[in-house]
Amino acid sequence: MKRAVIALLLCCIAAGASPQAAAPTRPPASAANAPALAQSAPPQLPGDTPPAATPTAPSAGEVETQDAQPQPSSAAQDLYESARTDLLQIRMLLKNGRTQSTVGSGFLVGTSNLALTNYHVVSQMALDPDVYTAEYIDTDGNTGPVELMAVDVLHDLAVVRVNRNGSGFFKVPESPARLRQGQPLYSLGNPLDLGFAISEGAYNGVLKRSFYDRLIFSGPINSGMSGGPSVTASGNVAGINVARRRDGESVSFLVPVAYAQDLLRKVASQAAPPADFNPLIGQQLLAHQGGMVDKLLDEPLTLKGMGPYLVPVRESGQVRCWGRSSVKRGAAFNVDAMSCVMQSAVFVSDSQQTGNVAMTHQYIRSGSMEPLRFASLVGDLFKVENLGSTGDPRLTKPFCSERFVHTRTLPLRAVTCVRAYRNFEGLYNFTLLTASTDASQASLQSRLDVSGVSYENGLRVTRAFLGAFGRSGRR
């Protein structure tokens, strides 16, 4: 009897405790990467499962999961029936051999011959028009050439022109319709290059954590559906499929249709598409970094205490910070670390993202290590080799400036390394490394990475960050 009671009690405790126990363990481990994934999301639909799906034969498992999906409702059936004529698959082809390198989706806007898709679907054509070209395939298997008209790198949108007109099903309203949370949305596209599909989900508000607004769509979006439309039951486009959370279940993101309207207006006003999109992309990235740095520095950085040191961080909707500690009893030294990432990365190409801001602080201390031995340890930790490979053709080699500097209250060793983008003039990656030089058994080491900024803004961030370091009175 007693045992049974104890067993029952234990069960209750276990049941009550498990969600609490599970919850805190997740953020530091997965969250540290996950938001970066979501944000680096453009590459995500394309990025990881390559920009849209490798045409491989589905394995038995995959087919099974497909079958397991809930049957679309009759509304979805009707919708797909009327939408299919305007739905396109967009394929990037290598000019030599015309083999496809990536595939995505797109849709004809109204009755025009313009189609909307994601920038990341056509990024290869935009960056390397000499190597890549594109074609579309519609639901009847007809193909035709695709001409790139305009790109919006920041919101991940592109407009292309094809040699046929839409039936007028997909309406891009002048002023976007108001969406209510829970309202059903239908997402269309060609997932994993398996065939055209429609998936049903619900609108769930605007993602505030991302630098540019994204709609949350609680429904399945898979690689290859990028660039496809998500529409209301009446055929009004609510957003363009763009990304999903890899660690989530049916947590997907859409580009709000308002940005698509802006881009379409731009296409209407331009006489001819630009011959080279690289300078245009460079300008958009410059605009992005301007907004990003302004947002980062619009108020003074927050100072947080790490041991006796005061370290600058920024905590706002777009910047997320995580902490981690290696404190162990009897260890020769201990490390507390804090890292913050601003969710502002912009997809440029499969291998290049820009507009990141990341900062890390490490507080290393030891009670038992002699000063020289401790110095040798922290010297090793201060050595950073991974500023990206020097053979990277997109960036120049790093140039570094190093100095012993003194902020108001703290002497520091500061190293700033800068690399320039080769294909986008005026954009640079800044890395600032600092190490405190005030104590023989404690060391504060920090790293700030700002990528894709103008030199001016890189200096601004470096100055603000470096100048904020300090030491509080207490030991």
Binding site: G330, A331, A332, F333, S368, P371, L372, R373, F374, A375, S376, L377, V378, G379, D380, F382, K383, V384, E385, L387, T390, T396, K397, P398, F399, C400, S401, E402, R403, F404, V405, H406, T407, P411, L412, R413, A414, V415, T416, C417, V418, R419, A420, R422, E425, Y428, L433, A435, T437, D438, A439, S440, S443, Y455, L459, T462, R463, L466, G467
Partner: protein
């Protein structure tokens, strides 16, 4: 061999003038003559003393100098004095002949430095009056040979390894590490100096293991010492180039070590060895620079000075943040030039 040479040397004293009675007395050639068999590098392998002229040479046992060489004829050559007082070597009609400076000769005038080859045997003949250079000044510290320098070398090696083990220890101090490191270093030193001692025994007369070990120990200590001293100097006065090119100091240390090893083996070639080691060091340094340039696009060993030392070791003043930011700002020109330069390619 020595005894044989002596026995021959004794004989000629009794009959010095018998065969050469018709020669002038004040001849520069003076008995006894020494026939020296040479190694390829010019070293004397064997000496035979002959009291009188002519000297008969060959493989047969009735010769004055027996040449143990299958490629020499039983009666290969004869050395006699000419009327004008020089030595003349004559071939006795052999198949392989006498070779001088790569050419086959029938007869040849000899002086003390003429080297000829018979079959596979290289030799020269010197008279008793042949001049020799004065003795070398003996700088060898004979008290510093053998066990004493060897022990000092082992001690230096072990201490250096201990210091390195301590500096690189990231954990709480445990005895095992501080036994393993010195043991490994002493073992490596034994291997290194053993190889040099082997070479020394081969090319010199003695192994001199102790001395080679001392050189190793000293070099190891110097490697660590130079590194530490460079670190302290660079950190104290903010001289980043000192650590950026620290590998060249190590190259110099190793070159000096190899010079001392070589000079221990062949002390008479010191001047030449100095040049050889300097050239080797230079080549190593150039290779390091070229490797850095190719791998990292810079000549220095490191991107920046990652060294951190206790604050007491800082000597130069720190810069204010604004000055540093200006310094970073000034870098823009360089980067843009690099970007343009490579874009043009």
């Amino acid at each position: 061999m020595n005894t044989l040479a002596k026995a021959q040397a004794d004989a000629p004293a009794a009959l010095p003038s018998a065969p050469s009675a018709d020669l002038p007395i004040d001849l520069p050639l003076s008995a006894p003559w020494t026939v020296e068999t040479l190694a390829r590098n010019g070293e004397v392998l064997q000496r035979q003393r002959v009291a009188t002229l002519p000297i008969r040479m060959g493989r047969a046992y009735d010769n004055d100098v027996i040449v143990d060489d299958d490629y020499a004829a039983p009666h290969h050559a004869l050395v006699d004095a000419t009327l004008d007082g020089k030595l003349l070597l004559r071939d006795l009609g052999t198949r392989n002949g006498i070779v001088h400076k790569g050419r086959c000769v029938k007869e040849l005038h000899l002086d003390g430095d003429t080297v000829v080859r018979m079959g596979h045997t290289t030799l020269r003949i010197r008279s008793a009056a042949h001049p020799v250079p004065p003795e070398l000044t003996d700088r060898t510290m004979h008290g510093w040979e053998g066990v004493l320098p060897g022990a000092a070398g082992v001690l230096l090696t072990a201490l250096t390894a201990l210091l390195a083990a301590w500096l690189l220890d990231r954990n709480n101090i445990e005895l095992q590490r501080y036994v393993q490191w010195p043991a490994a270093a002493v073992g490596a030193g034994l291997l290194w100096s053993g190889l040099w001692a082997f070479g020394n025994r081969l090319f010199g007369r003695r192994a001199r293991l102790g001395r080679h070990y001392f050189i190793f120990g000293l070099a190891l200590a110097a490697l660590l010492g130079v590194r530490l001293a460079a670190s302290v100097v660079a950190y104290a006065w903010s001289l980043e180039w000192v650590t950026a090119y620290a590998s060249h100091a190590a190259v110099v240390t190793v070159a000096v070590m190899i010079y001392f090893h070589l000079a221990t083996v062949t002390p008479q070639l010191r001047r030449r060895l100095r040049i050889v080691c300097a050239v080797l060091g230079l080549v190593a340094s150039i290779l390091i620079v070229a490797g850095n340039q190719q791998q990292h696009g810079r000549m220095a060993d490191e991107l920046y000075m990652s060294l951190l030392l206790p604050p007491e070791l800082r000597a130069s003043p720190d810069a204010p943040v604004a000055v540093y930011i200006n310094q970073v700002g000034a870098m823009k020109k360089e980067i843009d030039a690099e970007r343009k330069g490579n874009a043009g390619e």
